[in-house]
């Protein structure tokens, strides 16, 4: 036998207790949606997992009303420490049910169990644990003393890290004292609904968190609902742009975490084997369905051939297949639509003259799959060097000098992430200064932590999630006295949120209107 053909090691699904149909979670209870239900499938098998309800406009309205009632009646009156206790409870319940959530996430999303088990779900618990402790310390959030919550937060999240994105959104919102209506992505609603069960176990007051499912139109109805005070969106830049347009002229505070085309810069003095690992982690983690993926490899010309040789060798050890198998590195592409987009852009890359190479791997018969792929001989003008592919496809470009590396890295309308690989500390720090990106990983890549702010420059969006700054995105300063004295201004400090100053002013009036 070949040892490397590891025998199947599937994670058991026995601990799952899924229902065949899921309703909307509104005001603490599951209710039937008024739209047409849709099926959620396992992208690795194309088999149906469950039927999911669709929230129509009336359902959206019911959810926002429930959130408003919970805000006015309960949540905004609760002490910070009590809000924190609920969040701590949630963190513990997530830990207790971690394996179940990991299996469900893998089933619904197609990502490998080793990622849901070791990354996604642990971070979900960590996120709630981190923000739980903030709930009674908001004076230190950087917004000045006695900051206040915004009200009802409308949150729309993507399918690439379903439960993790939920945690990134819900934990800070609740800690800051807001109530929530969250809409998961159409293809990955399952774990959000299991999370709703956890909220019931935590005895969270009804209406504090409402989860409504559906397609893009449900999300649109939610962000456009006049009753919401805050919109937080993670997803594509095109949808983010549309949301920014739609909230124009309203009092809604907005944070957007959008697309990216991260440059992973490898200098000739890089710790080469770790750099290769970082390249792999940068673009093949989660099948490349990562907004901050290192999808553009910028490698110094003098080591290009060696790096590519090592990378290809390493890619041959990536194991593509059953996402529930504990040894799977590359799972399924989340949907047929996404697979089509990856194929289209990859074919285009080939047509444009880039050299395509894919790791040898057996593609399962059913489901949506794409072999880990790299393109060499890519020019900055190629579509695959500019467009976000959101798949396991790496575009390799070269540079000769640090100045050229910086220029090429910044030559994109996006600005979410970048990586730098070098043994020279002074150069790393100087280049980190010059890269126009919100998250920079030096000699590492794709690391996340609840205490570390995350978010983009330029068309990658605005606002931060994680850390003190992520909390501030859900707060506004105490209402100013109207005095123009400089002394008073000393306290009028607000966080790094891009729209804080204006939105806080306008939402102050919204607050009055809402009460």
């Amino acid at each position: 036998m070949k040892f490397l053909d590891y025998a199947p090691a599937p994670e058991s699904q026995a601990l799952l207790n899924l229902k065949s149909d899921y309703g909307l979670f509104i005001n603490g209870e599951f209710t039937a949606g008024r739209g047409t239900p849709f099926q959620t499938i396992n992208p690795a098998t194309e088999q149906q997992i469950a039927m999911i309800a669709t929230a129509n406009e009336a359902d959206v309205d019911a959810a926002v009303s429930a959130a408003r009632r919970a805000y006015n009646g309960v949540w905004s009156r609760l002490s910070g420490s009590d809000r924190g206790k609920y969040l701590f409870r949630i963190a513990r319940l997530v830990q207790e049910r971690a394996r179940e959530l990991a299996v469900a996430e893998t089933l619904d999303n197609g990502k490998p169990i080793k990622e849901t088990r070791d990354v996604d779900i642990p971070l979900v618990a960590a996120w709630f644990f981190y923000y739980a402790g903030w709930a009674d310390k908001l004076d230190h959030a950087g917004v000045g003393p006695n900051p206040s919550s915004l009200g009802v937060a409308a949150q729309v999240i993507p399918w690439n890290f379903p439960l993790m994105m939920l945690a990134w959104k819900i934990a800070p919102a609740l800690a800051a004292g807001n109530t929530v209506v969250l809409k998961p992505a159409e293809t990955t609603s399952l774990t959000a609904l299991l999370f709703a069960e956890i909220l019931q176990q935590a005895d969270l007051p009804a209406g504090v968190v409402n989860i409504i499912t559906g397609d893009g139109s449900t999300g649109q109805a939610l962000v456009n609902h006049p009753g919401v005070n805050k919109v937080a969106f993670t997803g594509s830049t095109s949808v983010g742009r549309a949301i920014a347009r739609s909230v124009a002229g309203t009092d809604k505070k907005l944070s957007l975490e959008l697309g990216g085309k991260g440059a992973n810069i490898v200098f000739d003095d890089a710790p080469i084997d770790q750099a290769v690992e970082g390249i792999v982690r940068g673009i093949f983690f989660n099948q490349g369905h990562v907004c901050c993926a290192g999808s553009r490899l910028l490698v110094q010309e003098s080591i290009h051939d060696d790096v590519i040789d090592r990378l290809k060798r390493r890619m041959q050890t990536l194991r593509l297949g059953d996402p529930l198998d504990k040894n799977t590195d590359i799972g399924a592409i989340n949907s047929a639509e996404q697979l089509a987009r990856i194929r289209e852009l990859s074919d285009l890359g080939q047509q444009e003259g880039a050299e395509r190479w894919s790791a040898d791997c057996e593609i399962p018969e059913n489901g949506f799959w794409f072999a880990p792929t790299i393109f060499t001989n890519v020019s900055t003008s190629h579509r695959i060097a500019r467009d976000e592919i959101f798949g396991p496809v790496l575009s390799v470009l070269t540079f000769r000098t640090p100045a050229e590396a910086i220029a090429k890295a910044n030559n994109t309308p996006y600005g979410l992430s970048a990586g730098i690989w070098s043994d020279k500390g002074s150069r790393i720090l100087a280049i980190a200064d010059k890269l126009r990106a919100g998250v920079i990983w030096a000699n590492t890549f794709n690391q996340f932590d609840p205490s570390s702010p995350f978010g983009g420059y330029k068309e990658s969006g605005y606002g931060r999630e994680g850390g003190r700054h992520g909390l501030a995105a859900y707060l506004k300063p105490a209402v100013r006295s109207g005095s123009r004295s400089l002394a008073a201004a000393d306290h009028a400090t607000t966080p790094g949120s891009k729209k804080s100053a204006s939105a806080s002013k306008k939402s102050a009036s919204a607050e009055k209107a809402a009460k």
């Binding site: 084997d273 770790q274 051939d305």
Partner: protein
């Protein structure tokens, strides 16, 4: 790096060709310090990731038997006696008296003065007794030498130590490098000593005992040092690079072994020559040992999972592996009274 004339050099000249001159401190420093560095966080993360592989059922069965066949069953105590060595050899030959199908270990590893006792105890099962052994798996005798474990003796003493063990029938010599010289930057001295020891491995009939070079990674401290020492040992002609004596903590760790495997992989890319790797000390459970198998297979390829290219230096590991093996055979958990102590 894909096409290189290096492979055309005689084996003992490749190192010098690569460093571009005599093995002086300066030349070696220039070469060893030109090797890309290691980021410890990334290396350890990769090792941890490899450690999460889940080896089940038929793969586990294969892994367990493979591990047994890769073990250098070791006793390196001041209290060692011929009787103790006989007992060790008996265990090496019949690891599980309850299961004649259980494979033998690769070698027994003893101090130089115990080589004779080991050879005698092995008798016809000794590897040197002949290679056409049919279905009988022969067991080698490895001797630690060169003033093991500290290496603090004159070169003459170290070489005498080696010759003595080779003459007594050792198939393999596990030498220690001079860590003091290495850390002081006297790379030429370390290099020359390995070359001299290799020469001392020559038997009267002209054949060579296999040379394993112990880096004592716990004393080298940094991964960059481990990587440089690995290159140095290979350049000087070592057949195997080995992590540790077992007398210094930390001994073998997965990240250290991974970094050494990466050197071996790069040497193979460069020259086509396969060098062996032996983690030693601190590997006590089958679970740990399986992580090493995975790391070898995914770093250099599973063709390395043969006694010629990979060994575990261990003593207590064998019994844990046997317990696992019994569990897989019988379907129920075994206990320490059902494996023998040596």
């Amino acid at each position: 790096m894909t096409s290189t004339p290096l492979a055309t050099y005689q084996p003992d000249q490749r190192g010098l060709a690569l460093i571009g001159g005599e093995a002086t401190d300066a030349n070696l420093r220039r070469y060893l310090h030109g090797i890309p560095g290691i980021d410890a966080v990334g290396l350890e993360a990769r090792a941890a990731d490899l450690g999460t592989r889940s080896i089940k059922t038929s793969s586990k069965r294969w892994a367990i038997d493979t591990i047994i066949g890769l073990i250098d069953l070791t006793t390196l105590e001041g209290a060692d006696t011929p009787g103790k060595v006989r007992s060790l050899v008996a265990k090496a030959l019949v690891p599980d008296p309850g299961d004649p199908g259980c494979p033998r270990v690769a070698a027994v590893c003893v101090y130089g003065d115990m080589v004779g006792a080991a050879v005698t105890a092995l008798g016809s099962a000794h590897a040197a007794g002949g290679t056409a052994g049919g279905e009988v798996q022969r067991v080698r005798v490895a001797a630690v030498a060169t003033a093991f474990p500290s290496g603090r003796a004159s070169l003459a003493i170290k070489l005498a130590d080696v010759r003595d063990a080779v003459a007594a029938g050792a198939d393999e010599i596990d030498m220690v490098i001079d860590r003091g010289a290495f850390l002081a930057g006297r790379f030429g001295q370390v290099y020359d000593e390995i070359v001299a020891v290799k020469d001392a491995c020559r038997r009267a009939d002209g054949s060579m005992a296999h040379l394993k070079v112990i880096l004592e990674t716990g004393e080298l401290n940094t991964y960059d040092n481990v990587r440089r020492a690995s290159w140095l040992a290979i350049l000087a002609g070592g057949d195997f690079i080995k992590t540790s004596t077992g007398k210094v903590a930390p001994a073998a760790t997965l990240p250290v072994t991974l970094s050494m495997l990466e050197v071996v992989r790069d040497w193979h890319r460069l020259t086509g020559v396969r060098i062996g790797v032996k983690p030693a000390g601190g590997i006590r459970t089958s679970k740990d040992a399986i992580k090493y198998l995975v790391t070898v297979a995914e770093t250099v390829g599973e063709e390395w999972l043969t006694p010629h290219l990979f060994r575990f230096g261990a003593s207590s590991l064998l019994n844990d592996v046997l317990l696992q093996r019994q569990k897989m055979t019988t379907g129920h958990y075994s206990g320490p009274d059902y494996v023998t102590i040596d």
